[in-house]
Symmetry: C2
Subunit: 223 residues, 2 copies
């Protein structure tokens, strides 16, 4: 969320004995949080290093000390954001549910994750504006994301075996559908509000939309 003061170290503008504590992780974290907020708000080109430095509990010096340059900082923010989503699907334990319930759960979860993490959505938007150049660059992010597809693939196989899913379904296709329906409300919130006067962040709208998305996915998959 918003940048919090590191638990130790860094009391800006103070020098002398006992003025600060070594806390590399804390400083990194602090910079990362502030930078994320800036990149989310203004995009990669729009974000200002000086501004980030100013909002930080530390200094511009430390940004370059830890992240080399603007691109390095942005990449670190991106990787940090992706780190948050990975493995989350696994915590769902879909295997315990009948395929149809599992699909509904997975869809609802995906919808919620996007709605609850607009920052992540906006970073992905920014990244797409830049043709996913940094995603391409990041070894870290690369492998971790096929896990989501594996979950989907397994679920499809099981649902077909149970006889509750159509057998001509492509896992990639249904994954795209779920992502699209979860992503769009958040990514295009501003233009939807402007054009239709409909704010997707309003609790009632969100709840209704959530149900509708699940319904859409289930109807598509059912035999």
């Amino acid at each position: 969320m918003s940048a919090q003061r590191p638990t130790s170290a860094i009391r800006k503008g103070r020098t002398g004995v006992g003025a600060w504590t070594q806390n590399p992780e804390g400083v990194r974290r602090n910079i990362l949080d502030v930078a994320k907020a800036e990149f989310v708000e203004h995009g990669l080109s729009g974000a200002r290093i000086n501004e980030i430095a100013a909002r930080t509990a530390t200094s511009k010096r430390m940004i370059y000390y830890y992240f080399t340059d603007k691109e390095g900082l942005y990449l670190a923010v991106l990787e940090d954001a992706y780190a948050g989503i990975r493995g989350l699907e696994r915590s769902l334990d879909l295997a315990a549910l009948p395929a149809l319930d599992a699909l509904a759960t997975l869809t609802g979860f995906t919808f919620d994750y996007h709605a609850d993490h607009p920052d992540f959505v906006r970073l992905v938007m920014v990244e797409n504006i830049h043709h996913a150049r940094h995603l391409k660059l990041s070894a870290k992010i690369g492998m971790l994301n096929s896990s989501a597809m594996n979950v989907m693939r397994n679920l499809c196989v099981r649902g077909m075996a149970e006889g509750v899913f159509r057998t001509d379904i492509d896992p990639v296709d249904i994954h795209l559908t779920i992502s699209a329906l979860s992503f769009y409300n958040v990514s295009n919130r501003a233009s939807i509000l402007q054009v239709f006067g409909h704010d997707m962040a309003v609790e009632a709208h969100r709840t209704k939309r959530r149900a509708s998305v699940i319904e859409t996915v289930l109807r598509f998959m059912k035999v």
Copy 2:
């Protein structure tokens, strides 16, 4: 599309009698085309006025002459892009078709429009990054967009009357679904490619996805 030379006027770097012709519309158009390409590629903050000027058949001087400043230029580009989509739905003559066919046609059309106009999609992304601040500002764009919703509303009423649509459907909801499923493939093309190795711009993928989207919408709407 890409910036074309104006039909008359402007042969860069030439002076003297007969060197150029007055052509306000041509010059405006030329600037607009170049600017659009730049904003689409780099976003609002990332686009460089100097770069735009250089790619233009005319000069930076003329950009400010016609568009006042960067924001003015961007707004003009945005309005121009929206002007392209307006009224297009009306040319479909959905009324001539049974409601189900009309819905399939409208969905396919929306899908195609997005796929064929990635520039438009990217401008909308950029605009959303900026919280649709300029959309808000533009009187021009404001009114024109409710037309799409009217088309949808009429179709819904008719489909329900025909007894082929569910009666508990919200026109806004189905419109969002169609938009989301049309928008996402284009807006997130780069990250989809990166994460799944699946290029939505490949003809075969696009065709398959198109059919799937229509199927999704129809299944959702059918009684």
